[in-house]
Symmetry: C2
Subunit: 759 residues, 2 copies
């Protein structure tokens, strides 16, 4: 792709506090291990709010979360992703005058994220109150090549004066997380999580090591400043803080550059995180920064090739889609210790927790573009399986594993279980991702080693949570995806995904048996043939609610008996409803926060007739508020499937713009990674109708009216396949790997070189 298509640059930026905080998110740098919000190096004036943070994927402390009334098994503590250090602070003085865009005059000013190069930046031509003019260009990078590394390259050019430049670059471990007691979507309490352990200067590098208050973890950050020209440099330690003051004399037209290297290291991944930080800093300093830029670009070239997606006809939307994909590679963990948080590594919303978002919204992106990452996401779930077993016990179950609704290290973090722990569908979601991983890769060894154990333990849980009643297997007292209806019986989505889970437990069992690969998992689980028979029986007799009158699948047993919420006559300012109505009142009505049955119809489309799916879509569309960011992308896919092309495009557009336009008004707390994955899905699974099924790959592409064409590449069973759609034609090309049987518009084809279908 060309430069231009991968650069998001904004001029005329608002200096309004709210806008600044949104941009801290939009322009953040992350690489899946670390994430640094794009705060101004020099800070804001007093009285401004900022969420100044740097995060490590999977690094947490534990916070007490007292229940208003204590009941058995309710979660009483949670994990919080920590703001680990502030290494981005640099203050600049021109002959003692402090650089600040809030003072003097910005003659020009812009910010950008360059998704080809993997950097963000801030550019300004600025005149101080006394008339000194400088050009400032600040580039920031979270390195994909060396995951521990974050760099700031801070270049200052004197335009109209000769004089002294002073840079004061700070590194501090005295940081706190952001809190807002009035917003349920971020932490409500502020707390000092980090206890200083060691502050030391070694070879010009400040290393600050801190321990967490309760989780017993340590983090070390190392910072090294390099000044590009002659001058003085002095670093001083003050408590758990290092201040490096650099002075240089600059003549008109000259440029001075400070390069600030930060390395992050944590005790989850490293035995001795301080020693590791020293090694990582040595590694960082052993190559010129330019080389890191080159490798960053190379990494991303590979990424963009893997998730190649071109749209002809709407550049703004194309850019938004690429922005979303870019955020996914920035956010996703690259090892089994980190997953992908609801807000990635861009902010503190939902406290850095991992949700089902991973499996149902983000996994479908990576499975087609970088299956190794999809596999790593499952490996994380495997790593926390013992916690899921423990969680099942807490919830009363005698066997099986129940994944926590929200977590970092594996224990449940839901304070409000009706729309937390009660969301048993998380088990089905994780099982689904394992099954889809298998279908897309045929990697049975991974099933034998890890995936199978997940499938069997989640299947067991359904057997304990459900019960037979009048010959049908039913699952009571659970919450489906829609959080405006909680603790119901036979949520359609839950039951159909439990059925899938149980069926595949049986299939995997038979497959592994056939391949003599059962031993490991049997050793670990003690699974018996008898249980497999029970799985089969429960799956076969799974109750899937259906309403004869409306000819739809009711969201749950009693959903249709409730009063329909009057969305049209609800004042605009009362959305999202969850911030304005008591949960009981919401639960008493037919109103959906998000796709629920509609999502089930997308992922299990063969469970119902097209007519039922159509009726359901039309029914639920009227009562869905899309207060959740996980909704419009799914409605877009569903609309595509049903041939509602205008609608599909409309929902897709809503999804594409969510963060760049801050349409949910909380992008300051971080990006919405699930929506970003969903936005990709709206194209590939929606417009192009892609499905991964047991029989093979399915495609049914159409061209949205506003576009001239679109193209994308995917991985499937180690083959690379390109899909191109233009007016009147769809072309499928096998780029590499072995030939495949594929289903195009429902018809089976042998894909050897390419297939061209005229529309």
């Amino acid at each position: 792709m060309s430069d231009k298509k991968l650069i998001y640059e904004v001029n005329n930026l608002s200096m309004d506090n709210d806008a600044l905080m949104v941009n801290e998110t939009i322009f953040h740098n992350a690489n899946g291990y670390i994430g640094i919000r794009s705060n101004f190096e020099e800070g804001y004036p007093d009285g401004y709010t900022t969420i100044r943070g740097a995060y490590i994927n999977g690094f947490y402390d534990i916070t007490e979360m007292k229940q208003a009334e204590k009941l058995y098994g309710l979660t009483e503590e949670k994990q919080t992703m920590l703001n680990v250090a502030d290494t981005q602070t640099i203050q600049l003085f021109l002959d003692g005058e402090k650089f600040s865009l809030f003072d003097g005059k910005a003659l020009s000013y812009s910010r950008f994220v360059d998704m080809e190069k993997g950097i963000t930046g801030r550019k300004a031509v600025w005149r101080s109150q006394s008339g000194r003019e400088v050009e400032v260009l600040i580039k920031r990078m979270a390195s994909f090549h060396q995951l521990s590394l974050f760099t700031i390259e801070y270049a200052v050019t004197a335009i109209n004066f000769d004089g002294s430049l002073t840079f004061v670059s700070t590194h501090t471990g005295e940081v706190m997380n952001y809190s807002n007691p009035d917003d349920p979507r971020v932490a409500g309490e502020s707390s000092d999580y980090l206890i200083p352990e060691e502050a030391i200067l070694e070879e010009g590098v400040s290393y600050l090591t801190s321990g967490t208050l309760r989780s017993g973890l340590s983090v070390c950050t190392g910072v090294k400043n390099i000044l590009s020209r002659d001058g003085s440099m002095h670093t001083e330690l003050k408590g758990h803080k290092a201040v490096c003051t650099m002075n240089t004399f600059i003549a008109r037209g000259e440029t001075a550059v400070v390069t600030k290297y930060t390395v992050f290291s944590d005790s989850i991944r490293q035995q001795d995180c301080k020693s590791f930080a020293v090694k990582e800093m040595q590694k960082a300093l052993s190559l010129p920064l330019k080389e890191f830029y080159t490798r960053q670009k190379a990494y991303l070239a590979h990424f963009w090739e893997n998730c190649y997606l071109e749209i002809d006809g709407d550049d703004a939307l194309s850019l938004a889609v690429r922005f979303n994909m870019y955020q996914l590679i920035q956010s996703v963990g690259k090892d089994e210790y980190g997953n992908i948080a609801a807000k990635g590594l861009s902010g503190e919303g939902y406290e850095g927790h991992y949700f089902w978002d991973t499996e149902m919204y983000i996994h479908p992106f990576f499975i087609l573009t970088m299956p190794e990452i999809a596999k790593s996401l499952i490996a994380y779930r495997y790593r926390i399986l013992d916690y899921a077993r423990e969680n099942a016990k807490i919830l009363g179950h005698k066997k099986g594993a129940l994944y926590p609704w929200r977590t970092i290290m594996g224990k449940e973090c839901s304070g409000y279980y009706p729309s937390g722990s009660a969301a048993y569908h998380i088990n089905g979601d994780i099982a689904y991702s394992v099954i889809i991983y298998f279908l897309a890769t045929k990697d049975l060894d991974f099933i034998a080693e890890k995936g199978g154990e997940i499938i069997f333990e989640t299947a067991r849980l359904w057997m304990d949570a459900g019960n037979f009643y009048k010959g049908q297997f039913r699952i009571n007292e659970v919450t489906g995806p829609d959080e405006y209806t909680c603790m119901v019986n036979n949520n359609y989505y839950t039951n159909v995904s439990a059925q899938f889970n149980l069926r595949w437990a049986v299939k995997f069992y038979r497959m592994l048996a056939e391949e003599n690969k059962l031993e490991t998992v049997l050793d670990k689980t003690g699974l018996s043939e008898e249980e497999i028979k029970q799985f089969e029986q429960a799956a076969e007799n799974m109750y899937l609610p259906y309403d004869d009158t409306l000819r739809i699948n009711p969201q749950d047993d009693s959903f249709l008996e409730k009063e329909i919420w009057d969305i049209k006559n609800t004042p605009k300012e009362n959305f999202p409803l969850l911030l304005h109505y008591h949960p009981l009142y919401l639960y008493r009505h037919q109103v959906c926060k998000q796709a629920d049955t509609v999502l089930a119809h997308f992922i299990f489309e063969d469970a119902q007739s097209l007519e039922t799916i159509r009726n359901s879509f039309e029914y639920y569309e009227k009562i869905t508020t899309h207060d959740s960011s996980l909704s419009t992308c799914i409605f877009s896919i569903a609309a595509s499937k049903l041939g509602y092309k205008e609608k599909a495009y409309g929902y897709f557009g809503d999804s594409a713009k969510l963060d760049l336009f801050n349409t949910h008004r909380n992008t300051k707390d971080g990006i919405h990674t699930a929506n970003m994955g969903g936005n990709y899905m709206a194209i590939v699974y929606g417009f192009a109708g892609l499905r991964i099924k047991e029989k093979g790959l399915y495609l049914a592409p159409y061209l949205p009216r506003p576009w001239n064409g679109y193209r994308f590449k995917i991985n499937y069973e180690n083959s690379r396949i390109k899909v191109e759609v233009v007016k009147n034609q769809c072309r499928i090309t096998l780029l590499s790997g072995s030939g495949k049987q594929i289903f195009l518009y429902g018809k089976e084809y042998e894909l050897r070189k390419n297939i061209i279908v005229t529309l």
Copy 2:
């Protein structure tokens, strides 16, 4: 009644800490305004736990109750009944040797509650380590004549020595409430609620005034010590504490008595609580203590006459029943500022909150024995009606009033709404008590003035909470009495009580219209004819779930679809289940904490056929754990109605002994007032089959096999009626008032003088 039948005296008392704490409750003194736990005046040794408390009915502070996750409308603060002062401390020294039952040797020792005299006491003959022997007799009284007054009469007789006696009598405002973070049934947090305002000595009386931290209330306690003989007396103020030291010389055989008067006064009831305390102390000191004893006895003679109940054949059980009735008169508020807490004024369990216990378990006792108190209990509900209107709004309702599930001053205190605010049946319960009050008194003026407004506003709430579906009026997402099943649709109990509420709203409207008494309530509520029609329609079409196969009323729409809990094979130590299982797991099963549909069948017995009632009883009995103290009494009544006499007597016995035998293992936190009312009901509504219906009074007495006979008196429409049951005969006598039509064993009689039926 004779002395003996009204004295509960225990020798050989355990000095085990748990037993001591239970006895603090059992022997507490209260009069409906104040309650003082029966702590040892001299305290326990170090390391012992005690709940040393004195409480004022309705006097509270506010505590923050943070929700683990913030959601709209969830309660974030609660009221807590305060321990207001410690005025019971008296230490005794014999020639410097401290009196303590934990040292030396108790040659005899007993405690008693004398329910004829209205006092409790402790008697001991004690030998000190050095061999000094004394007889100690301590009598305590919370005066019914002067509600502000609590007295301790502390008499010491020297048995085998001459020497000095020192009494150190303390009065302190530096007190805290009891807390236990591990038990959901008491406060989880400790807090200094009271801030000292004034400590002053006036005419030998120490007055301590304190203000609450958050509720803006004040409390004043005044203490005066009087020594019966010559000696020295010195009172000193130290901070918010007054210490009175009394010395006297005593010869062998002589007795010294300290009388300690305490008056309590609060700013809810008094403008200036300090001045009021002064007046009350003057009043207390203006009469000799003997006179207060006389009036106490007279008050109780009246009480025992009003609630006359004699059982021939089981003295122990008779005593237990009278103990229960006595606790009710001790606990019940005597004005509209205080109601009756779940634990009365005997302890801090449930933090002094008022629940539906009042209306469904205690009101039925007072309506038959002291209708003025029943009226006062309703007046309290009327006083908090505006808070109930506000609560309805918080829960999303556009009209009506929704009473808080637990409260002191009127605002909801439930931290866990699924078994708190969701218990909408509280509205039906309060409406029921108003209707029964009317039926038992025909006091239409009270309906015009207060009761009607309650009925209309609760009726309105049902209209907003429910909805028509397929022609039936349904009420979704509520919790019935059984707290092991929450947030269900069409709880039978809730729907049938809503129906009763709605029907009576219509009836009262018509009655008041006919008597030209509608004006006040119309002014206050703006009620329209149109609404009355809607009430009528909803009541007429109320959906009452019925199962054709089992021929029972299911507890709610989906109750019967759930798995039946295996009570028999649940380990004994896992009861009460709520302390051992996650709520979701409980809710997913057919298991009841308490009577729910069975209670509905008792209070609305005409809503179903006897066959259905019988089937329901048999069905629910098998799955009810009686983990709630509100359960066995109702099962007893239901069993009586169905002719299961052995069962009825068994359940009655369980109920009778609950506190005296500490069968629920939490009597240390206070008595179970609802069970105490229920225990009376098990006799009068159970064995004697009493019902108050629109058509009149119903009776159908039978004699429990272990008894030779029983007799009781009731008030009904200003007449006094006596019911006597012996083997083969039932006699109903009109003691005073006008004649009544009554229904005896289903047959209508004119009660003029008496009716005798041979059984």
